[in-house]
């Protein structure tokens, strides 16, 4: 702990995002990470709070910012960091018009904070994410030095944006973030490349889907082998959950058609639950998969498509021309109902995303309390004094998050079932 507290002070020569990084895993372990960094970088940093690099760029530094740390923690990454270890992941980079590149993110020689010291095929690793430097002079694997990519805030078209620059051989190059489909509303937008990599979230999803698949196939086999017999082992563990979703979600909402939609509801529930729980397992990197809008977006789109493709005549009639109400009410009701068709999946998407992301961020912030009260390593008493309250709060929060993992999976499933149920219901007027 002692190393950790002092390390924070020495880290001021990094960009602000790094601090307390090792606490990404929620439980504030692996302080050895910081100790190592303190040894290697400590001396150079002393007395120089705002270093400028060869290109005259200065990263914004200052107080330890738990908010930025939390943002960093919930972000997807091109490396999988567990404590002091950094595992490279496969990169699949698509530059429209130029083709697709495959390589390992290990090429960038990233440290445990996800900052690379090498450039490869015009790509660099910054804050765990691959960025592309379109004007970089070479495609070869070249050394760019540590902390040569710096993010600064710039105002473009009246909106403040975070822009990254690479300093290489005294020249300043703009580094593009990967493309995002938010049209710039959330600070992203289309750039020169798309990142289709197996990122930390994708790998987590793959592992969880594999584990769930293996689990359910073996359970299905057990049902076949032990036909008509009482459940045993893991079969008995999953059966109550399965029966609960089947009897309390599928049957009441879908009526006679429950068997048709059961696989979708089960897939949604266990996919979301598995990923929610995976993100909470200590020492596994704390992946924020279901707390990514992209993931919940896909799930909500699936719910939206299944609902509307299965919508019967009555469903559409109730949306566009609600029977049994005066004509003038219909003119108000129809726009509301049409909006509702889209708002329903939108709320599904946002609810899951917000709940899981918030849980991850709260965990990081509770752990960060140690560094906030420790005044970034300068107040030993504050730091030590907050360890136990912070740990207690974290344990309490983890218990709540465990509950949230189940509740959110259940809520997503039950709402999807109710939307599908409403769309396929037979009305008898």
């Amino acid at each position: 702990m002692c190393f950790s507290l002092t390390a924070q002070h020495n880290h001021d020569d990094h960009d602000g995002h790094d601090h307390g990084h090792a606490h990404d895993q929620h439980e504030g372990h692996d302080h050895g990470d910081h100790a190592h960094d303190a040894d290697s970088h400590g001396a150079a940093a002393h007395g120089d709070e705002h270093p400028t690099n060869a290109c005259g760029m200065s990263a914004h530094h200052g107080e330890f910012d738990p908010g930025e740390l939390a943002f960093h923690h919930v972000s997807d990454q091109n490396v999988y960091n567990i404590g002091p270890w950094s595992f490279p992941l496969p990169c699949i980079m698509w530059v429209p018009g130029e083709g697709i590149d495959f390589f390992s993110s290990g090429k960038f020689n990233g440290d445990s904070h996800g900052n690379g010291t090498k450039a490869y095929k015009k790509y660099v690793l910054h804050e765990g994410l691959v960025q592309r430097v379109p004007d970089f002079p070479t495609d070869e694997l070249v050394d760019i030095g540590a902390h040569s990519v710096v993010a600064v805030k710039e105002t473009i078209d009246g909106t403040e944006k975070s822009v990254s620059y690479l300093c290489y051989n005294g020249t300043k190059y703009k580094a593009d973030d990967r493309s995002t489909l938010d049209a710039g509303y959330f600070g992203g937008g289309l750039t020169s490349f798309h990142d289709l990599s197996i990122t930390k979230n994708v790998l987590s999803m793959g592992i969880v889907v594999f584990l769930l698949g293996w689990l359910f196939l073996s359970i299905a086999k057990a049902y076949k082998r032990r036909q008509g017999m009482a459940p045993k082992g893991v079969q008995g563990l999953i059966e109550p959950i399965f029966v609960f979703i089947q009897d309390e979600v599928a049957k009441p909402f879908l009526g006679a058609k429950w068997q048709k939609f059961l696989p979708l509801l089960m897939a949604l529930f266990f996919f979301i639950l598995g990923l929610n729980l995976w993100g909470q397992v200590p020492f596994l990197g704390g992946s924020n998969v279901t707390g990514s809008l992209s993931v919940t977006f896909v799930l909500a789109i699936v719910a939206f498509l299944v609902t509307n493709f299965n919508g019967n005549k009555d469903y559409w009639k109730h949306i566009f021309w609600m029977p049994g109400v005066p004509a003038w009410v219909k003119t108000i009701l129809t726009p509301v109902e049409v909006l509702g068709v889209f708002i329903k999946p939108l709320t599904l998407m946002l609810r899951l995303f917000a709940n899981i992301t918030a849980g991850h961020m709260v965990m990081v912030i509770f752990v960060s309390l140690i560094f906030v009260f420790g005044k970034n390593g300068t107040s030993t008493l504050g730091g030590y004094g907050t360890v136990i309250p912070s740990a207690l709060l974290s344990v309490f929060m983890m218990a709540i998050e465990l509950l949230v993992a189940f509740i959110q999976a259940f809520v997503f499933t039950i709402l999807t079932a109710s939307y599908i149920g409403a769309a396929t219901e037979e009305h008898h007027h």
């Binding site: 600070g187 698949g213 359910f216």
Partner: protein, 171 residues
């Protein structure tokens, strides 16, 4: 708000993650739905039906048992009734037989008694007849003897008769 979200990556829809999520979720839905969720649901349904069937059967068996028991009791009651009837009949018959036997015996006895009486009467009559005959004969003899002997006086007569009477042994 937008400034706040500058570095907030999770909210930026990322093509790669969307693509992979689509692949993984649809794959999971299709594959596990087909080969695990549906079969499990079917297995649960058939097991539920089995259990319900077994329960129904047990209930039916119980009802049958109850019916059988009632039947048995009825048969038993019938048998008891039959038994008491038979017993009663036997008793009646016994009484009848005994009464009859008694009557018969009485009749027989009466008959024997009356036969005996008749016999006794006959014997008596024969005896009386014999006595009468003997007395007649005796009287005749006495009279003969008296006539044969000339008696001197009255006292002599009487002694003589007495002497004759004594001479007849009336056995």
């Amino acid at each position: 708000m937008l400034i706040f979200l500058l570095d907030f990556n999770p909210i930026k829809p990322d093509l790669g993650l969307i693509l992979w999520t689509t692949i993984f979720f649809l794959g999971f839905w299709w594959l596990i739905g087909r080969s695990a969720f549906s079969p499990i649901a079917r297995a649960l349904k058939s097991r539920e039906d089995d259990i319900q069937g077994a329960l129904d059967e047990a209930k039916k068996a119980k009802e049958e048992m109850a019916n059988m028991k009632a039947e048995n009791e009825r048969i038993l009651a019938d048998a008891r009734e039959e038994r008491s009837k038979i017993l009663k009949e036997a008793k009646d018959m016994k009484n009848h037989i005994v009464t009859e036997a008694k009557d018969q015996a009485k009749a027989e006895a009466n008959k024997i008694v009356s036969t005996a009486k008749v016999e006794i009467d006959n014997q008596k009559r024969a005896a009386i007849t014999e006595v009468k005959n003997s007395a007649g004969i005796m009287a005749l003899e006495i009279a003969e003897k008296v006539i044969k002997k000339e008696l001197k006086g009255k006292a002599e007569h009487e002694d003589y008769v007495n002497k004759l009477v004594d001479g007849f042994n009336l056995n």
